[in-house]
């Protein structure tokens, strides 16, 4: 399954976080952040919720799929 919407990079850059720092804040490695941003890896529900909480937005604002 691939994500049709992925605004993680946009949100990260808005907050001024590096990939390493974002990874540290949500408990994943830099490679995982790179993979999610590159659309190669779909984050788990837990990670998506952590990211949404960190950026104070809904999960749907960060990620989305086509119907």
């Amino acid at each position: 399954m691939a994500l049709s919407k992925n605004r993680l990079k946009e949100y990260r850059e808005k907050k001024g976080y590096s990939q390493e720092k974002l990874g540290g804040l949500v408990g994943v490695t830099r490679q995982t952040v790179i993979s999610i941003e590159g659309g190669r890896y779909v984050p788990s529900l837990e990670l998506a919720l952590k990211l949404a909480k960190l950026f104070k937005c809904k999960v749907e604002d960060l990620f989305g799929v086509d119907k």
Partner: protein, 130 residues
């Protein structure tokens, strides 16, 4: 290892060593126990190993394992399992045609080597793709 866990482990190790010394000095459990000359010696050994492991873990930086790595490992595991099943079937067929006359130990070492190679190669490939 966090500070609380480390403290508990250190106390456990020290407790075992002290208990071992006390048992040995009181000459309790002096018969051979689990390959050691006495139960006290065995307890001192366990305590010493516990302290050693704690000391090693103290220095070793904890490796970050996240969900992507778990995902890759699970996929590599699945591939290895399927490869071993296919290989086992092929070995059975080959053994039926040309009987395999190999020492059991040698055969098992080949199997283990095959599994390690398949796992590490598939892990690396999946890691690059994800």
């Amino acid at each position: 290892m966090n500070a609380k866990k480390r403290k508990i482990t250190l106390l456990f190790g020290l407790g075992f060593i002290i208990a071992g010394v006390l048992l040995n000095s009181a000459k309790i459990g002096t018969q051979e126990y689990l390959g050691f000359s006495s139960a006290g010696t065995w307890m001192m050994y366990i305590g010493f190993v516990t302290l050693l492991i704690t000391a090693i873990k103290w220095k070793v930086k904890e490796r970050k394992v996240d969900e992507r790595i778990n995902y890759i490992a699970a996929k590599a595991n699945r591939i290895t399992f399927i490869a071993v099943m296919v290989a086992a079937f092929l070995v059975m067929v080959i053994d039926g045609v040309y009987p395999i006359n190999m020492r059991y130990g040698m055969f098992m070492s080949y199997v283990v080597m095959f599994m390690i190679i398949i796992y590490s190669v598939s892990y690396k490939i999946i890691e690059r793709r994800n």
